[in-house]
Symmetry: C2
Subunit: 566 residues, 2 copies
């Protein structure tokens, strides 16, 4: 280390050439909000010189470009990109996301600590800095059947791992308010450490109680009023724009010089197709600015504030001593990325060529026997009852009460009124539960969609206008051992295999993007009106998001946190 | 801990009464800059409720008052208050300073690790939170004789002590730039940890090199231009107002919403007389606002920004989950403190009554034989030569060249021209060095002042118009085993004994304040024009502050970092 400090001093002073110099451009100083004309000298993985001219062994020509610090994705489930950590790295780093804080919550719900080990091991090989939070709510609730459990002792064993920063999103806020002993044991084990929050629509004294346990941020904030209360209560608001939940539009007005240190951005769940078409954090930055947020506040939130909120004090500024994570932009307002430097090295195809890869885990995780159409029947006392109401682009749902066609003691779907059947089949080999219900808002007139991604226990979720098509879809999923399947008139019309724990593809992100594109076209052809039908389906089983959800145990009234009859 | 979380949840929800409620007042939300009308509920040492009404077992009536977070003094040498850590606590906590980050650099220069142990042990007993940084530059330079050395291995042993945050002010910036191996070993041992800076007037590539070693803040910034450069380079600027160095006047214009997260306040060296007359951090806040700095930015800098800059993530906001360090103000602009709550408990005389105290160390540390007047003679080749120019209220000095009276091969003082003799006598029993020189700016026409406080090696510094009075002053200091002494016409006219390491009184801070008042009056009666003559004297031996200083080895040209002839 002393030799490294000697090199830095010599290069900073200009006694020797810097290892790399970003030359001839400008940079946005997120500490002061100023645009500066200056070279940026880099020694090893550190910036060693700004506000001066430098010579370098390697020179990156930045004429006409503006440098900003690397972006920090403060909350992401890599599994939701549907690709391995290695492919996630190759997909988002070239877009400027040099640091991501992930929660391997999805794979842990399927595989337990084996999923955590997979991410921790894989993260060590990446070009980007991927930090792995410890999934706090596996299973998320007792109202579903997950593939594994992580208890306080399991999490405690990983607490000091160098690639973790603390406890991942603490979703079980009802458990906190109810003083559930298991919940409090987990929180107690991380007092004085970092604990990520998740508290959609939690307000008033309930929010106070949640925060009193040392929880510090929230990425589930969807309105200005909610953001204002959380900021007033010292919470870092992590503004999210994923593939389903899109909060930038609502929250951009909250971004200013005063609030910026208490903000951050995150993608949470964002798939490769959206990353290709819109972008990753670059998209959130671009959108925020387009919506009128001050440019310097937006970049501060996306870099320094995000890093500081997670104790990553070595990054987020272009200044001597800071980590050389640098994004070169053609345009600041439009956040057009022209190049990325990570840890002092230019990012290019060769960056990803030589990395060791980790063997995929969780192959053969869809432990279901083939099903017949009869498994989806919904016996009921009458036509009236609950229906889940989809809110396009939100994972929040409405709790509707509707009268449906009723024959032979069964409630039936009503595709003409946009009401389909939705079922969740336990797939972890623990039991053979099937939860059954109805959902409004998909727009399908016929056919079925099935997914082995079903937050957060990742049982098989299937939605359809006909029981027969639902059976075909589920049976194809079993053959694929996970994925997305679209069926019409008894025929599989599009699919994406996800064999790694039933969540992740073993292919390149471009292949996944292509398959998603095919799925999208097929499902649109079936009349679906949703932009992201598979993601909306995948979030229907998530019983920590209000208001009405469905798990393998049945319909869940999230507000009362209990099961109700279909 | 689980039980404590259960209590917090119940009190936050209002299921049970809070332990303590600050009721009926308003508070300044430093996260949003808003004034809020709200109770503040406290459970144990944590805030558990804001923006609501609460009932409490103990109710603090805050009608007409405004609550703000406890103030954080980001850099202080407690020794410079001239009182023990216990008395420092009793002196500053009731003024709102709930956290202080001290550097026991002075006592370590006299006693080595025994001084560090004394502060670490004492800090554990205090009502305030006193964090003890590890003194990085003992001795500060090789151009003086200190009582002890702390090397990289010594510091490394303390690195994980729970009451330390990292390495204290890294004063030896010439050593950094010169790649001194001992200096770099210390920095290398703390990479990835917190390292405090000290870089007066360091600029350009030299500042880049200094920062490249992971140094993160500076409390030695004295001008707007200097502050702007440091902020641009990502440095946290800790705005200081001590008893000698007063930088708030110059730096207040730099405080705004954008810069506030990168600022903090500190007192560095502030004695009990100034604390009584002006205040502690409350004074710096009041002055900054009076000078036009935005109120919310000033309080953010003094609380949240200060805490975050040092990784103290549990404090600095009045919000649920945060430490209940609360200052109640009668007036926000004028920062008039009406009451303090620390760790959830009201601060009053009883707060300080029951604390265990630590036995003072370093008694008998002035290891000098009585001297005669002849020891102060300055043989020289001619009348011309260097003279230290005092800058009132600054520890920076001018490097003057003057012609002085010259007789019998000796340069002589010229009190009519305000030039006195200044000498430094080694007092650690290691050698008998005496450094000799001249100084302009004290205003004394006769007599002498002596001090066993002489930064940073704390040899005996004496300034005088007559060699005979200088000898009387030094000999009285030896009898007292440390302190401040003023002599006129051979008679001691005022004194303050400082028997603990020759730096600290063993008495109550009020007694020290009284003695300082007497010394000030006496020295003014001797014609002295300086507001703080003993402090200006005590900083003359400090060879890390430009431009001309004096140690037991002689005059030091700080810019060239070498000894020069008197």
């Amino acid at each position: 280390m002393r030799e490294e400090l000697e090199r830095r001093i010599d290069q900073a002073l200009g006694r020797t050439r810097a290892d790399l110099v970003v030359k001839g451009g400008r940079f946005l100083n997120v500490a002061t909000g100023e645009l500066a004309k200056s070279d940026i000298a880099v020694c090893g993985d550190r910036i060693v010189g700004t506000y001066d001219d430098y010579d370098g062994e390697t020179v990156v020509d930045a004429h006409g470009l503006i440098a900003v610090p690397g972006f920090v994705d403060t909350h992401v489930h890599c599994e939701s990109t549907l690709v391995t950590p290695e492919e996630f790295d190759r997909c988002v780093l070239p877009r400027g996301t040099t640091t991501a804080i992930c929660d391997p919550h999805e794979i842990c719900n399927v595989l337990g600590t084996a999923g955590l080990d997979y991410f921790l091991e894989a993260s060590g090989n990446l070009a980007m800095d991927l930090r792995v939070q410890l999934s706090s709510c596996v299973p998320a609730t007792g109202l579903e059947t997950s593939g594994a459990r992580l208890d306080a002792a399991d999490l405690h064993r990983y607490r000091d791992h160098p690639r973790t920063l603390g406890l991942a999103e603490f979703m079980n806020f009802p458990g906190v308010l109810a003083k559930d002993p298991e919940v409090l044991d987990k929180l107690a084990a991380f007092q004085g450490r970092h604990i990520d929050g998740h508290s959609p629509l939690v307000t008033g004294r309930e929010l106070n109680a949640y925060l009193s346990c040392g929880i510090r941020n929230c990425h589930e904030t969807t309105s200005i009023e909610e953001a204002r209360e959380k900021l007033r209560k010292g919470m870092q608001v992590l503004i999210r724009d994923g593939s389903v939940s899109k909060d930038v539009q609502a929250l951009a007005p909250v971004i200013d010089a005063v609030t910026a240190p208490f903000l951050g951005f995150c993608t949470d769940d964002r798939n490769p197709l959206d990353i290709a078409e819109e972008g990753h954090l670059d998209h959130l930055i671009r959108r925020s600015i387009a919506l009128g947020a001050p440019v310097d506040a937006v970049y501060r939130a996306a870099t320094w504030s995000a890093a500081r909120g997670f104790g990553l004090n070595d990054r987020g500024l272009l200044a001597p001593g800071y980590r050389a994570d640098i994004v070169l932009l053609e345009d600041l307002e439009d956040c057009r990325v022209a190049g990325v430097i990570r840890n002092g090295r230019r990012v290019g195809p060769e960056t990803f060529a030589g990395r060791p890869t980790v063997r995929p885990v969780g192959l053969g995780s869809v432990k279901l026997e083939p099903v017949g159409a009869e498994v989806f029947r919904v016996p009921a006392a009458g036509p009236g009852g609950p229906v889940i109401g989809i809110l396009p682009g939100k994972i929040l749902t409405e709790h509707l009460t509707m009268s449906l066609p009723y024959r032979n003691g069964e409630r039936l779907p009503d595709p003409e009124a946009d009401v389909l059947k939705v079922c969740v089949l336990a797939r972890h080999g623990i039991n053979r539960n099937v939860g059954r219900g109805f959902v409004r808002g998909f727009g399908l007139r016929s056919g079925a969609l099935a997914s082995s991604v079903g937050h957060d226990s990742h049982n098989v979720a299937v939605v359809g206008a006909s029981d027969a098509d639902m059976a075909v879809a589920v049976n194809r999923l079993i053959e694929l051992q996970g994925g997305f399947v679209a069926v019409r008139d008894g025929v599989v019309v599009a699919e994406l295999p996800l064999p790694v724990a039933g969540l992740i593809s073993d292919r390149a992100f471009e292949e996944v993007e292509h398959a998603l594109s095919g799925l999208r076209a097929a499902v649109r052809g079936m009349g679906c009106t949703l932009a992201e039908p598979f993601l909306q389906l995948a979030f229907l089983p998530l019983p920590v998001i209000p208001h009405l959800k469905i798990t393998d145990l049945g319909l869940v009234d999230v507000d009362r946190f209990e099961l109700i009859a279909a």
